[in-house]
């Protein structure tokens, strides 16, 4: 190795350490905050290493006492899971058959591009009419409202994503099934869907992640713990006069764990999904 190459390698390792520190330092600090005693977090100079371990915030957030932080937080967690599950089911029922048609029938492709185009519009384009529609059905402040609203984001995305997946399943397999005399729905159910299983799984997890992150519709269409989601509760905590940063940090850690775990476990399929067309912001 020449001297020049050696300097290059040292610089590369230094850059790598820098990247790792930049990514890990804020994350690590939030975790440390969530288990530091409050006095440590409100002193100058700041104590970086907690004087004692304090898991009391997690206890507070995860107990269902009346009128407590935990009650608000746990109801929000329930609402988020509920909306994520509901929206995903809607996406599953509507987008899978449609994506399959878009993949097989070329002459309706233009419709797909129209649908994907709406994905680029800001949600604020839909928000006032949606608000009025939901209000007229008395659906405001219910998880159902958020399932409907989140569908405006999730449906175009899943349709596009699933369509590019179905493109990879050769049409000949289905044609062979048709020659054997199978009915359309039977061919879909018995041949295509089993082949598309991994793809469908990834897509549905993606849409659950989108719903988990969703904020704008959630603050507009909900007002209390009957429907408020985690993002709303965290935003309220952050802007309120909460003096306990540790509590904020603990709420953030719990809310971040499921999506981060999904991300780490499904890294491979997410990366291939991200690069094959659909890009989540």
């Amino acid at each position: 190795m020449t001297a020049r190459q050696r300097i290059g390698r040292i610089a590369a390792y230094a850059a790598m350490i820098l990247v790792a520190v930049v990514i890990l330092a804020p994350l690590g600090w939030i975790v440390v905050m969530s288990i530091s005693p409050t006095v440590d977090l409100t002193t100058v100079p700041l104590r970086w290493i907690p004087s004692a371990l304090d898991f009391e915030r997690y206890e507070r957030l995860l107990t269902l006492a009346h009128n407590s932080d935990g009650e608000v937080f746990l109801y929000a967690l329930r609402n988020t899971c509920w909306v994520a599950a509901g929206t995903t089911v809607i996406a599953f029922l509507l987008a899978i058959p449609a994506a399959w048609v878009f993949s097989r029938a070329r002459h309706v492709r233009w419709l797909l591009y129209l649908i994907v185009g709406t994905y680029m519009l800001p949600p604020l384009m839909f928000v006032v009419p949606l608000y009025r529609i939901l209000a007229s059905f008395s659906l405001l402040n219910s998880p159902w409202a958020l399932m409907v609203a989140d569908s405006t984001i999730v449906l175009p995305f899943t349709t596009w994503f699933l369509k590019s997946g179905f493109d990879n399943i050769p049409i000949e397999i289905e044609e062979a099934g048709a020659i054997d005399g199978g009915r359309l729905w039977k061919i879909l159910w018995d041949i295509t869907l089993p082949l598309a299983k991994p793809l469908i799984g990834t897509t549905l997890l993606f849409s659950a992640l989108i719903v988990w992150d969703e904020f704008l519709y959630a603050i507009l269409f909900t007002s209390d713990s009957r429907a408020q989601t985690l993002t709303v509760v965290i935003a309220n905590l952050a802007s309120g006069r909460v003096s306990d940063f540790g509590l904020l940090a603990a709420a953030g850690v719990i809310a971040a764990l499921p999506p981060v775990a999904v991300g780490l476990v499904l890294q491979r399929s997410i990366v291939s999904g991200l690069t094959s067309g659909g890009v989540k912001g």
Binding site: I23, L111, P122, L124, V128, L155, G252, G263, L264, V279
Partner: protein, 289 residues
């Protein structure tokens, strides 16, 4: 296979999309020509009053400026950093697998959680950033990063870049897989330097995915709402009030549904122009090559 039966499978999706996207879009378009108030009557048709009002309002121009600044700066920063990190992690270095895995974490972190974390880190009394900068002697006094109009937008932008550069790095890394090894080696044998090799072999392969990422990130950044709302709510002194925040406040805080709708229409028109300009730029680039 029977073609009519296939198209029937499209119907449920199309009906739902018409109801939740198609109708609201038309309604917003219509509203933008009325003086309707939220929760009130349908309002009167006022022709282009809302649009004229928007062009004359300093608040709109200011929000447009904030949005453009935010978009240009964050997208440029995340593209550059993401590309750099992607290239770095493509090198044959110990520990790169670990770092590649780590990249997914900022991407997966919910935007609101990211915003909340940085809000706490920027806190002017006990925030970690001030503590770190003071203890290392870079600043003397604690600063209020989000409370000062001259630094608030930069602070929010930095928090956004921290989360979004990872996506660009991931896309770069995936793009680099497509660079043919033989071509790299051939160029090396021909005596091309590292810079020349990058320009002629690597760059053309990763340019298309990066361009798409850049377009999509620009559209996303132009819509920015969540991170600003959680960190500053558009303040201080409107220094971080983006178009989305302005529309939100007009339509929902002040209940000017009609005016809010016209602002939303305007921001979409600008997004469309951006998309048009981009696809043109991409085509010109393609023609030169």
């Amino acid at each position: 296979m029977e073609s009519r039966g296939r198209l029937l499978l499209l119907l449920p999706l199309l009906i739902v999309l018409l109801a939740v996207i198609g109708w609201p879009l038309l309604d917003t378009f219509w509203l933008s020509f009325t003086d309707a108030r939220l929760g009130g009557q349908t309002g009167n048709f006022v022709w282009f009053d809302n649009y004229l009002h928007a062009f004359r309002a300093p608040a709109f121009r200011r929000a447009l400026f904030v949005t453009v600044m935010f978009t240009v700066c964050t997208v440029a920063a995340e593209m550059l950093i993401g590309l750099g990190v992607g290239l770095l992690l493509d090198m044959d270095l110990w520990g790169r697998k670990f770092l590649r895995g780590l990249l997914i974490v900022p991407w997966a972190l919910p935007t609101v959680v990211n915003a909340m974390c940085w809000r706490v880190i920027y806190n002017p009394d006990f925030g970690a950033l001030d503590a770190f900068l003071q203890q290392t002697g870079i600043i003397k006094e604690y600063q209020s990063w989000l409370g000062d109009p001259s630094t608030a937008l930069i602070a929010v932008g930095a928090a956004d870049v921290w989360k979004t550069f990872s996506l660009v790095a991931i896309i770069t890394l995936a793009g680099l897989q497509a660079v043919p090894r033989e071509l790299k080696e051939a160029a090396e044998i021909d005596g091309a330097g590292p810079f020349e090799r990058f320009r002629t072999v690597t760059w053309p392969v990763i340019l298309p995915p990066l361009t798409i990422a850049c377009v999509l990130r620009t559209i996303e950044a132009f819509k920015v709402f969540d991170i600003i709302w959680v960190m500053t709510r558009g303040g201080p002194l409107d220094s971080t009030k983006s178009l989305s925040i302005l529309v939100y406040q007009e339509a929902f805080s002040f209940r000017h549904a009609g005016y809010g709708a016209s602002l939303a229409m305007l921001s979409v028109a600008i997004t469309m122009m951006l998309i048009g300009a981009y696809s043109r730029a991409v085509r010109i680039q393609g023609a030169v090559r």
